[in-house]
Each structure stands twice: as C-alpha cells, then as structure tokens.
C-alpha cells in the first residue's frame, strides 16, 4: 500500500521499502520456530558475524519475559539501544502475523533512534510449526528447528517448514546423542521445500553461523540492488 502518495505526513503503513524521508529502510528478517530451537543463539551469532560490516538492530518477542533481549544484552552482541523487546500477550504468532502493529513500531523506532540501519532481525517467541511472519512485517523469514525436537519434523511440514525463505536444522552436533537421522531430515526438508534452501547447522561447530550469514548477505545484496 502506498497511501502516502495522496497524503502528507508520516507513513501510514510500513511495508513500503522507503522511509518517510525517502531513504531505503532496513531489510527485515524474521526468525521463527519452536521453543528452544536456537533462534536467539542464531541471532547472537549473526550479530557477532555481521556487526562490523553492517548497521544492525534486533527486535525480540518474548512470550512472558524479557529473557531473549536480556540474553543478547548480557552477551553484548550489540549496544543496548539496538535491541528492543516487544510484549505479545500470550500469543506470539499473533504479534508477528495477524496484528503486527507493535512489531512495526519497534522496527520503526529503532530506525529513528539508531538508524540508518542495513538489517533488522526480528525474533519471534517460540511457537508451534504453523507460526509464520506477515509479509507486512518482514521481507524474508528464517524458520529454525533443531534435531532434538524429533527428526520427523521436516516430514510433518507445516507452514514454517514448507514456506520459510530459509530453513535451519540446528544443533546437528546433538544428532548422535538423540538418535536423529540427519540425512533423512535433509531429504524430507528437500521434499517439502523444493527449491527453497535448507541449512544444517551447529552453533557449537567450527563453521557456526557462517552459511546463514552468507544467505543474509545475499538477501541484503538483492534488497539494496
């Protein structure tokens, strides 16, 4: 929607690629997925990897605490003014999909306060396999599952696994301990997602978040092209 073409003043909606002053806004990437799959750990790793080359900020959506935001603050992955927590009223998926207004405010306030920004990561509160981000809030979404949640999750599918722009199968280091079959998870994911990319990752491993960071860089290059 481009309502501002007929009205003056601040933008009415903010899926627009430009800010009220005409500059391009930051690329917004959402991270969703089940509780404890490694969303915050991935956000933290991405911040460490990208903060020297990009201007970054993070929005967290905790379900009933500020723990994710506080974890990121404690780890000092970004200065505190670049991290905002949104409260979601017992319904994390509502705040990222059905009623995105609080999250939109958070991303806009971050751009006003510490911008210009290249990239804003929006972490959803841990939810179920049907939780996806609205296209009005993010430009791309990452769905994070882990090997410990059961190796049949890729086969079960659901909107997160099937439609996310990137699927991360996290904690591959734990696969031998929980009896998860990585090859099968990869094959099932491929079957569900056709051409959409899948990354198998262990943040405890040597390459850590590198592959996901490369994917983010590519999205950013496409966004600013």
């Amino acid at each position: 929607m481009h309502l501002d073409h007929t009205h003056h003043g601040p933008a009415a909606v903010s899926a627009d690629a430009h800010r009220p002053d005409g500059t391009r806004r930051a690329l917004r990437v959402g991270l969703g997925g089940p509780v404890g799959s490694g969303k915050t750990a991935t956000v933290a790793a991405l911040c460490r990897e990208l903060r020297d080359e990009l201007s970054l900020a993070v929005v967290t959506n905790d379900i009933y605490t500020r723990e994710d935001a506080e974890f990121l603050l404690r780890q000092a992955v970004l200065p505190p003014e670049r991290i905002t927590a949104v409260e979601t009223g017992a319904c994390p998926h509502t705040a990222i999909r059905d009623d995105i207004s609080a999250n939109l405010e958070a991303v806009e306030d971050l751009e006003d306060a510490v911008g210009p920004l290249d990239l804003i990561l929006v972490e959803s509160g841990g939810d179920n396999l049907t939780a996806t981000f609205s296209r009005g809030l993010v430009d791309a979404q990452i769905f994070v599952i882990d090997v410990a949640g059961g190796d049949d999750i890729p086969r079960k599918g659901g909107p997160g696994v099937t439609t996310a722009d990137l699927l991360i199968v996290n904690k591959t280091d734990l696969a031998p301990h929980v009896g998860s079959d990585l090859a099968r998870m990869a094959a099932d994911a491929k079957a569900q997602r056709a051409e959409l990319p899948v990354v198998l990752q262990s943040l405890r491993g040597e390459s850590g978040v590198a592959e996901v960071a490369a994917w983010v860089r590519a999205r950013l290059a496409a966004w600013t092209a």
Binding site: M1, L3, T6, H7, H8, G9, P10, A12, V13, S14, I63, Y64, T65, R66, E87, T88, G89, A90, C91, T94, A95, D98, D99, I100, S101, A102, L104, E105
Partner: protein, 224 residues
C-alpha cells in the same frame, strides 16, 4: 457512509494491538481477585463504569470533532498511572496505523503529525470512527465494548476459563453497556458546548495502582 464500518472497527481481530493487553485482568488474576466467571463479571462491571465510561466519552467527543489535542490532555488528566498513560498512547499509535490504512484521510494524517508517539487510544478511536463515517454513539460503543472484551479474552487465556462462560459475561453486561454508552454520548455532547471539563472523570483506583505494580513485574503475559 456505511454503518457496517462499525463491524470492521469493533472486530476483535482489527489489527490495532489490543491482543497484547489485558485491561488490568492479569494483575487482578494474580492477586486472586478474578478466579471465575462471576469475578470476571464484577471486574468488567467495575471497568465499564469507570475507565470504560471515561474512554467512551472521550471517543464520542473525538467523533463529534472536538480538538484531539485538548481531548488527549483531558485523557492524561484522567489517567493517574503513568504506566496506563503509556499503554494508552502505545495503543493509540497502533490503532492510528490501522485506521490510516483502513480509512485514509487528512484528519488522521494530521493526528499522526501531532502525536508521532501516539495519542490516547480512545481519542484515536473517536477520530477513526469519524473517518469511517460513524457517529459519536458508535465510537462510545466501541470504546466501552473494548473496555470489557479485553479483560474477558485475557482471562480465558490466563485462567483457562471456559470461553463460553466469558462470552456469557459480555452478553449479560450488554444492557448495562447500553446505559453507559448513553451517558458517555451525553457527556460528549456537553463537552462540545462547555469544553472537555464536562467529560466524566470516574476512575478505579485499584486499576491504576495495580497497573503500576504490573508494569514492574519481571515476567508477565500481557503488556498491561
């Protein structure tokens, strides 16, 4: 002009941020004041005649075209708790975004310029009703219904209360809501002649006090 716009605006799924707020119910549940549907009904009745009446009158006055800056100041004066003021402004800002996308007009654009961080939600609600071609009673009804439906849905989540019981509470309150709506519209009419001081200033002290305590909790499900 269409009266069906009222359904759009009053729909609980209208994306204006209300789902993250409990209208004081979370604090009341934790304090043991709401444990069942009967308690919920008492709580909602209290809200209806205090915070609800004030919100309804503010919304009706805004729908009549009173100066939103004066109404916003009047709302501040009627909201002792800083936490509740902040929540009301946040919700006002969120509602304004949805309103401008739904019923774009110069008056709403102007409001966004005056209040970049948000005006009190009932004031925005009244102007939204106006932009949608609705009248002062419609605005009052929306504000009043929200003042009780918010706590009711929140309590379903907080207590795992039977959703049919919660809806029954709202249905039983409907005739009373009619009466309070009439009073709110009447007060708004008086304010159109005499200024915002004619608006009601009823308040539930416990709601304000508990809101301050709630805002300081380290872990909570709802933003207010």
């Amino acid at each position: 002009m269409t009266h069906a716009a009222l359904l759009v605006l009053a729909d609980g799924r209208f994306p204006a941020g209300g789902h993250a707020h409990s209208g004081g119910a979370e604090a009341a549940v934790k304090a043991g004041r709401i444990t069942c549907a009967a308690d919920l009904e008492d709580f909602c009745r209290g809200r209806l005649h205090t915070a609800g009446l004030v919100a309804g009158a503010l919304a009706a006055a805004a729908a009549l075209g009173l100066d939103p800056r004066e109404l916003d100041a009047a709302a501040d004066a009627r909201t002792p708790s800083p936490a509740l003021r902040l929540a009301a402004r946040r919700l006002g800002r969120q509602l304004l975004r949805a309103a401008r996308a739904s019923w774009p007009c110069a008056e709403l654009d102007e409001l966004a310029r005056w209040f970049p961080k948000g005006a009190h939600q009932p004031v925005v609600l009244g102007l939204t009703a106006r932009a949608a071609g609705l009248g002062a009673p419609d605005a009052a009804y929306c504000a009043l219904y929200e003042s009780v439906s918010g706590p009711a849905t929140a309590t379903v989540r907080l207590l795992s209360l039977d959703p049919f019981d919660a809806t029954g509470v709202l249905a039983r309150l409907a005739p009373e809501l009619d009466e309070v709506a009439r009073a709110a519209v009447e007060a708004a009419g008086a304010a159109a002649g005499e200024g915002p001081q004619a608006l009601p200033a009823a308040s539930g002290p416990l709601l304000e006090i508990m809101a301050e305590a709630h805002a300081a909790w380290p872990a909570r499900l709802f933003a207010s």
